[in-house]
């Protein structure tokens, strides 16, 4: 049975039939009255019997900056895949606000509704200038027809300038994105997310491979973004996590092991046991 249903997993077209059910996948329907932005409940994902996520429950509040840590294979990236629609979980529910069910939406629809994702490896549009990168990512009509006749409005131009300012690439606007330094690419990718006006930013290892100064700037950038929007950061660098996060969630074998401030986490006996003191040595 599971083999049979796996066969059709790649057949994305089936999702289109959800058009028969009432559409609540647009931004107007997001209901944040309870103060919680993202609800993940009882999510299980298994690959050939291995449970990448095991009854995961995770809640992200509006405006929160949350760090998620965990060893390799703890399920951090799988969790992001589920939220962004890349993976369908075997069971569980995922909601944005009270009403928007993420599990029957495609990647592009989820992005449209306000969840932006930064990849582990910086992924920008290498062939185009920094400005073009942001222009293509602007929150606007994504249809083919709109793209054929698109012209930048003054308002959009201002918005691009604004984001350039935030990510600190104002002087680099005409440079080809492929020629940027590693750190600049990371910032540009954050800018690509930002310009879509997302409710939630999922950021996968933003400071991997960055210099100390770049890491500091990134920390400033991410903390400045939280508040208006929610930011979820997956990171290995404990120093960095300590510098930005109020609340840290520790994932272990696909479910939440502990949640709390950095100090609480480090004192947690369960965490100590799992990590054999490795969190202490790296902090």
């Amino acid at each position: 049975m599971s083999r049979f249903s796996k066969m059709f997993e790649g057949w994305r077209g089936e999702r289109q039939w959800s058009a028969f059910s009432p559409e609540i996948n647009s931004r107007e329907f997001i209901d944040l009255s309870h103060g919680t932005l993202l609800y993940l409940e009882n999510i299980t994902v298994s690959f050939d019997g291995f449970k990448a996520l095991d009854k995961l429950d995770l809640y992200i509040d509006k405006g929160e900056l949350r760090c998620i840590i965990g060893a390799n294979g703890a399920g951090k990236t799988t969790m992001m895949d589920v939220v962004t629609g890349k993976l369908r979980p075997d069971s569980g529910t995922a909601f944005l606000g009270q009403t928007v069910n993420l599990l029957n939406m495609s990647e592009s629809e989820i992005s449209e509704v306000g969840i932006g994702r930064k990849f582990q490896k910086p992924t920008v549009l290498e062939n185009f200038s920094v400005f073009d990168n942001l222009e293509l990512s602007l929150h606007a009509d994504r249809s083919v027809k709109a793209a054929l006749f698109a012209r930048l409005t003054g308002e959009q131009r201002d918005r691009i300038e604004e984001v350039l300012e935030i990510i600190g690439l104002k002087t680099e606007r005409e440079r080809i994105a492929g020629n940027l330094s590693h750190g600049q690419k990371q910032w540009l990718e954050i800018g690509i997310l930002l310009i879509q006006d997302p409710y939630l930013l999922l950021v996968d290892e933003p400071v991997a491979g960055m210099t100390v100064q770049e890491t500091e700037r990134t920390a400033e950038l991410l903390t400045s973004l939280a508040g208006e929007r929610s930011v979820v950061v997956v990171e290995h660098d404990m120093e960095f996590v300590r510098s930005i996060a109020n609340i840290v969630t520790v994932l272990h074998q696909g479910s939440v092991l502990a949640e709390g401030t950095m100090n609480e986490i480090q004192e947690d006996p369960k965490v100590k046991e799992v990590y054999l003191g490795s969190t202490e040595s790296s902090s």
Partner: protein, 370 residues
């Protein structure tokens, strides 16, 4: 006036394109004039054979342009563009067949010769309407477009990419070839459609008709070039290139990648169909051989040699390779395929950006030295 500024805007920063269009315009003038008005005894006379030959090359250039749009800009390595080309060709072929009227060998006013030969008594329903030039031309573009739409809709939605897509398209063109070989299909089977007499009332064999066809093909090539260039420069074009380079990034930005890919693929198939329709009057025949899988691979080689993702590179590649083919097959026919294969390997290894890329690299180096 407005159209003039549109052309200037479209060609901004496209030196290669400007040269190409100038050359095409010049040949649209030179070929007919030197063919029709210069006496045959003069050294400047251009024979009708050459006009036809280069007319054919222009059709191939159009086809290369179509493939470059899909492959060079959207990363869809289509090994089935020969099928769209041939379908367009059959559209024109059916029109020309109906134009023969009762001048065929059997003299049947309605049925083409091969149908009389097969003892058919009435015209198959899908041959209706093809006596109308406009309808036939519409079909020559519409049918390849529809096929591309259905195929693209299914393939891109299921996220079939890369080698798998290329192989399925090879299979598609092969299947169509086998189908068109069958007499029961009603497209002339093995022999295809040939023995054409005239097109919209003008004798196909006459020099003047050929020259006019040449000019029309040249102008269509220029128009399609400008159109493609405009598309590529638009936001749509930049989205498409980004899909080629970072598909999942674009998906997560919120673009429906499959819609963009399908649009490009359909557009490309339409152009290929038009190229096929223009090709048939020059060669005077269309048969299932045009669906041969090898043809589709050759198109890819033209584009690779000329320079992928530069529209003029594709045009240049198509004309150069086909000229070489004409020359080679006349002198050493058995060596041609080896030469083509060798050329492809050489270009892939040493000139990954094709001839156009090679020249611009050389220019860059010269500028640095100076």
């Amino acid at each position: 006036m407005q159209s003039k500024s549109f052309i200037i805007e479209t060609l901004q920063g496209d030196t290669g394109g400007r040269i190409l269009i100038a050359v095409l315009l010049a040949s649209c003038l030179i070929f007919p004039v030197f063919n029709l008005f210069v006496p045959e005894s003069s050294v400047f006379h251009i024979s009708t054979y050459l006009v036809t030959l280069f007319g054919k090359y222009l059709c191939f250039a159009l086809l290369a342009l179509a493939l470059d749009l899909a492959w060079g800009y959207c990363g869809i390595l289509s090994l089935g563009h020969g099928a769209f080309f041939a379908l367009g060709g059959y559209g024109m072929g059916m029109y020309l067949m109906r134009q023969i009227g009762d001048r065929g060998v059997y003299g049947d006013p309605l049925l083409p010769d091969f149908m009389v030969f097969l003892n058919w008594t009435e015209l198959p329903w899908y041959w209706n309407g093809f006596n109308n030039f406009g309808f036939a031309m519409l079909m020559a573009a519409f049918v390849p477009g529809l096929l591309a739409f259905v195929f693209g809709w299914l393939a891109f939605r299921s996220r079939v990419t890369g080698v798998y897509l290329s192989i399925i398209l090879q299979a598609l063109t092969y299947a169509l070839m086998l189908a068109f070989f069958r007499n029961e299909m009603g497209f002339g089977g093995n022999n295809g459609l040939t023995d054409f007499k005239d097109i919209v009332g003008f004798n196909l064999q006459s020099d003047v008709t050929r020259a006019v066809l040449f000019v029309i093909t040249g102008l269509i090539l220029i128009f399609v070039y400008l159109f493609c260039r405009h598309i590529v420069k638009s936001k749509f074009g930049r989205v498409v290139v980004s899909i080629r380079d970072a598909e999942s990034r674009m998906r997560f930005i919120g673009y429906k990648v499959e819609n963009y890919k399908t649009s490009v693929f359909v557009l490309s198939a339409l152009i290929a169909g038009i190229a096929g329709a223009l090709y048939v009057p020059f060669v005077g025949i269309i048969n299932p051989g045009e669906f041969a899988p090898l043809n589709s691979i050759e198109i890819v080689i033209w584009v690779a040699i000329g320079g992928r993702s530069t529209l003029y590179g594709a045009v240049l590649g198509a004309i150069l390779v086909n000229y070489a083919k004409t020359r080679f097959t006349a002198v050493l026919p058995e060596v041609w395929l080896f030469a083509l294969g060798g050329l492809f390997i050489f270009v892939t290894l040493f000139l990954p950006k094709g001839l156009v890329g090679f020249f611009s690299d050389v220019k860059e180096k010269m500028r640095k030295k100076a």
